[in-house]
């Protein structure tokens, strides 16, 4: 009821009262002497508005007051704010602005409190902009819109000054830029459109100018140093006064101008580019290069590419060096081995050192660039890939007729055998083996390596040349880890065979002890091997001398007691005999192969034998026999004399024991033209014959035949099976498959062992079609079907 009695306040009357309050507020803002608002004054102002808004129409002045509220700001801005800003420029204008803006916010705060009642009902009901918003919008529409261009230019000018090394008022900029953010009232569009866009454009053109000079004047490392500094400074700038959302955009702009635009020019700089840095081992610069470019999309690709080319070139140079070294000796590597080995025993190690040097160097190269990948290039997969691809290129080249698979196998042999080229500590050996196995990963013909490795391993094991059993097993473990159990199963079988053979020998000796009647009177050592694990050796029907036949019989009998179901086949070519040769001057112990021993023992019965006598008695083929007799009569140790005394053996020759033979050594090894290359199921590894009448004994080594060809042929055959098996496996699961896909899957499956070529796969597919495993689809010849 009291409301009705209240006196109506007319608009003009009420507004006059409000105007007083507003004037006081302005004076306070302008810094003129004026006491603060008391709570009474404030209450009166609020109440006036309340009353004027709660009068019954037509005396409800809400609408008018809402408009007057806005006018109050507009009036103040046009009379005081704008004039003071307009008269100032650049930094001074900025300073004024950062003073005026907080002032305005204070004004909005107070006035919106006086008019607060409008917010509660009038504005809320009509969904009008709130008082606070109206207040800020006034500033935005009148001040900001007019000045934003000037402000932006002034800010950018200051930033550029700072880039040029001048000191600037960072706090000022910070405040100005806050205004750009605040004026958006929660939105970033004003900051972005009115400032950031131009700032980014300016930064781009600034660095574009800089870069175009630097790229000409500076070396690649200097340029990168500058670029890195610039990027750091720009990040700094963001953290000090720009809005954090600008960091990514700004950095990208700068990166683009400094790095992306000049990427090729920079990396390819003739006297300081990426290649030169790699060549000169500039590790620090390379790390910087990585740091700079890894943030750029695809930025690392050209670097990885140069890295790959560089390693490929270095590796290829190593191959060339090895090639030249072999070439200097006047003959191809393969031939070189043969010639030298037949001249002097140490020749093999001389050749060995060639591959040794090569593989060592490749390992060093790998160590070096692996370190680059780890240290400079942060283990990035792109660089691992580059390294891998580079090594795959030159590791699969032939070095003077030798495949790298063979070189690597020989290298391992040198490390693992007794008296190898290098004298290394156990750790060094382990480390080296580790690295060799890593290199193997780059070689596509892993099966070829396995085959050569097995050949060499068999030699180490059978001739007791392996230096250390633990190392043998260690490398097999490593190979197994890398290439899978199938890869090493045969090799492991070989090592195990040897252990079993030693036990077996002990049992055999026990057996002989218990059965003195059985004792053949000759020390006999037999190594029983499992077929399949070992390389295949040639066996022949050599007629053994009686003494040896007895040995073989005794062992067979012994073996029967252990197992009934196994068949022994003897590989005489791998056996050795120690024979005492009683020559006129002295008795000499000769270490010879089983074949040679058999031939020599014939001369216990007759003084003089013709070629054909020997041939009949030994039951040997001509080529074997010629080589054998050559080793005994034409080589270094002439234990037999030959008639006529020529350098080659012919079927018409006659042979006689040479009692005048002598040598300053008590023990000698006789080399024969065919060497320790052949083998099969069970071998007699040592038959020691004592002959009382005349002792002739020797280890007569035989020069190597072209083993390489055989190994390669064996591997080729295995590959055919492997491809067949792979195709059948794939087709069995897929039933129907397109040609292209079948080839791809086949390559994929086999790539762990070797890289089959497309032609070979095609041939195998056709062969399988002929054998009714597959058929072509009737309508689409590119499609194959599996025939179950």
């Amino acid at each position: 009821m009291t409301m009705n009695q209240r006196k109506i306040i007319e608009l003009e009357e009420g507004w006059d009262f409000m105007q007083n309050g507003i004037t006081k507020l302005k004076r306070i803002l302008e810094g003129l002497p004026e006491p603060q608002f008391s709570s009474e004054e404030y209450m009166m102002l609020y109440t006036t508005i309340y009353n004027m808004c709660t009068q019954k129409p037509p005396n409800d002045y809400s609408q008018q007051l809402y408009e007057k509220y806005k006018e109050a700001f507009e009036e103040y801005i046009s009379s005081s704010v704008l004039p003071s800003l307009r008269e100032k420029h650049d930094e001074f204008m900025l300073r004024e602005l950062v003073k005026r803006w907080p002032n305005h916010k204070v004004m909005v705060r107070w006035l919106s409190r006086f008019f607060h009642y409008l917010d509660r009902y009038f504005i809320a009901r009509r969904s009008l902009p709130a008082l606070n918003e109206v207040g800020l919008t006034c500033f935005r529409d009148q001040v900001y819109q007019e000045l934003k261009g000037k402000v932006r230019d002034a800010v950018i000018a200051l930033i550029d000054q700072e880039r040029e090394g001048e000191q600037i008022d960072r706090a000022l900029l910070k405040n100005v830029l806050d205004l750009f953010v605040e004026i958006g009232m929660g939105q970033m569009v004003d900051y972005e459109n009115d400032f950031e866009d131009d700032m980014l454009k300016d930064s781009a053109s600034y660095y574009s100018r800089k870069a175009s000079n630097w790229i000409v004047e500076d070396s690649c490392p200097d340029y990168m140093l500058k670029a890195e500094q610039c990027l750091k400074k720009e990040r700094d700038r963001v953290s000090h006064y720009l809005h954090s959302s600008s960091e990514q955009k700004l950095v990208e702009k700068v990166q683009n101008e400094l790095l992306v635009v000049y990427s090729t020019q920079l990396l390819e700089k003739e006297h300081s580019g990426c290649r030169v840095l790699l060549r000169d081992d500039k590790v620090e610069d390379l790390s910087r290069m990585y740091r700079l470019f890894h943030k750029i999309p695809k930025g690392l690709e050209p670097i990885a590419n140069i890295f790959k080319q560089h390693i490929t070139a270095e590796g290829t140079a190593l191959v060339q060096q090895a090639e030249d070294a072999a070439g200097n000796k006047g003959c191809s590597y393969g031939l070189y081995v043969q010639v030298l080995t037949s001249i002097a025993p140490q020749a093999e190690s001389a050749v060995g050192s060639l591959e040794q040097v090569f593989v060592r160097k490749v390992i060093e190269l790998h160590d070096k660039y692996m370190a680059y990948v780890n240290d400079c290039f942060a283990n990035h997969s792109l660089f691992h890939k580059a390294l891998k691809e580079a090594f795959e290129v030159f590791c699969n080249k032939n070095v003077s007729g030798c495949s790298s698979a063979e070189l690597l196998a020989s290298f391992c042999d040198n490390i693992l055998k007794k008296g190898g080229v290098e004298k290394l500590s156990d750790e060094a050996i382990e480390d080296t083996l580790d690295k060799v196995v890593k290199l193997l990963a780059y070689i596509s013909d892993k099966d070829l390596f396995a085959e050569f490795y097995r050949k060499k391993l068999s030699r180490r094991l059978l001739f007791d040349k392996s230096a250390n059993d633990d190392h043998e097993r260690l490398i097999l473990t490593k190979l197994k880890q890398q290439c899978g159990g199938q890869f090493t199963s045969k090799m492991e079988g070989m090592v195990t065979d040897l252990t079993l053979a030693k036990e077996n020998q002990n049992h055999f000796e026990e057996y002989l002890g218990k059965n003195p009647n059985a004792n053949p009177g000759i020390d006999l050592t037999v190594t029983v091997l499992t077929t399949g694990f070992w390389p295949s050796y040639k066996s022949s029907d050599l007629s053994l001398p009686v003494e040896m036949v007895k040995c073989v019989e005794v062992f067979k009998e012994f073996y029967q007691t252990k197992t009934k179901h196994r068949r022994l086949s003897w590989i005489y070519s791998l056996g050795t005999c120690n024979i005492n040769g009683k020559f006129e001057q002295k008795t000499i112990e000769l270490i010879v192969g089983t074949y040679q021993a058999a031939a020599l023992l014939l001369f216990n019965a007759s003084d003089r034998l013709s070629y054909s006598d020997i041939k009949t008695q030994l039951n040997l083929a001509d080529d074997d026999l010629v080589r054998l007799l050559q080793s005994l009569s034409c080589a270094k140790y002439k234990i037999l004399t030959k008639e006529p005394n020529s350098r080659t053996v012919t079927p018409s020759d006659l042979f006689e024991f040479n009692p005048k033979f002598t040598d300053r050594m008590r023990r000698i090894r006789v080399r024969d033209a065919l060497s320790l290359s052949l083998s099969l199921i069970c071998t007699v590894s040592g038959v020691i014959l004592e002959d009382s009448n005349r002792s002739i004994v020797h280890q007569i080594p035989l020069p190597p035949v072209d083993e390489r060809k055989r190994v390669v042929e064996d591997v080729d055959k295995d590959r055919r099976y492997a491809i067949d098996a792979s195709i059948v496996r794939i087709m069995k699961s897929r039933k129907v498959l397109g040609h292209q896909q079948l080839v791809m899957e086949c390559v994929e499956q086999l790539s762990r062992m070797f890289k089959p070529d497309f032609k070979a796969i095609k041939k195998r597919i056709e062969d399988l079609i002929t054998r009714d495993y597959l058929e072509r689809d009737k309508d689409n010849p590119n499609l194959f079907r599996y025939l179950a």
């Binding site: 032609k759 095609k762 041939k763 079609i769 002929t770 072509r776 010849p781 590119n782």
Partner: protein, 256 residues
């Protein structure tokens, strides 16, 4: 019974409309399909492929004329006589077409079943009819689909029994014969290539794919795809053509 009569009538109508058919044949068809009209149409039409009736006795007489005196089949001598009677060169490709019709298992011989069954199926019971038919057979080679079938048939027909592949000489002879009809310009190069580089028997796959190759790949090899599933022998042939400059920039340099 009424149904039967109706069916009989309907079928005879069709027969008359197409190709005066004896009532007897129509009846047979009806009986074979157990008097169901639709089934009878099927039976009837499948037989009409076989039609002109051949007198078994006269076919047998023909067979006996060519039969080997010692074995119950026609051998080289019989075939030579047959060719004489037909006035056809034994090397004529039409003999292959004839063999195809007779489903002959092997070149230069017909078993009794093949000869008699074949002639009956063709509806031929006299030399005159066969001679007339030979001309027709020549034109069958021009039919793409039939040529394919004949080409495929030729492999099994020409190879030695028990062998999986075809001896090179025979294969080359057959190819020259077959592709003469087809005018494949590379056939001589192909044969020279095989003799120079391959010199081994030809697998069925290579045999059948060569026809595809001749059909699909134009003689300039412009649409040849080295990544395709062509047998390796064909790939090598293409290499050979390129190496020897036989195919150069889309021209066939025919020096042979």
């Amino acid at each position: 019974m009424a149904l039967r009569r109706g069916a009989r009538f309907a079928l005879r109508g069709v027969g008359l409309g197409r190709k005066a058919l004896s009532e007897k044949a129509a009846l047979q068809a009806l009986k074979a399909s157990n008097w169901h009209l639709e089934g009878a149409f099927d039976v009837f039409y499948s037989q009409t492929q076989v039609k002109p009736y051949a007198d078994t006795r006269r076919v047998e007489e023909l067979y006996n004329r060519y039969k080997d005196p010692y074995v119950d089949m026609i051998l080289v001598d019989g075939i030579t006589l047959l060719c004489n009677d037909l006035q056809v060169d034994p090397q004529d490709i039409v003999m292959l077409v004839l063999s195809w019709h007779m489903k002959a298992a092997t070149m230069c011989e017909f078993s009794k079943e093949e000869f008699i069954g074949g002639l009956q199926a063709l509806g031929i019971d006299s030399l005159e009819k066969l001679r007339d038919r030979i001309q027709l057979m020549r034109s069958e080679l021009k039919d793409e689909q039939k040529f394919r079938e004949i080409y495929g048939f030729a492999f099994g027909w020409a190879k030695e029994k028990g062998q999986k592949s075809l001896a090179l000489d025979t294969a080359i002879g057959m190819w020259q014969l077959l592709f003469e009809a087809k005018h494949w310009p590379l056939v001589d190069h192909w044969c020279q290539f095989l003799q120079a580089r391959h010199n081994k028997a030809i697998s069925r796959d290579t045999w059948s794919q060569l026809l595809e190759f001749a059909r699909m790949v134009d003689p300039m090899l412009s649409n040849y795809d080295a990544e395709g599933a062509w047998p390796y022998l064909i790939d090598e042939f293409v290499e050979y053509l390129n190496e020897n400059g036989i195919i150069k920039k889309g021209h066939l340099n025919d020096w042979s």
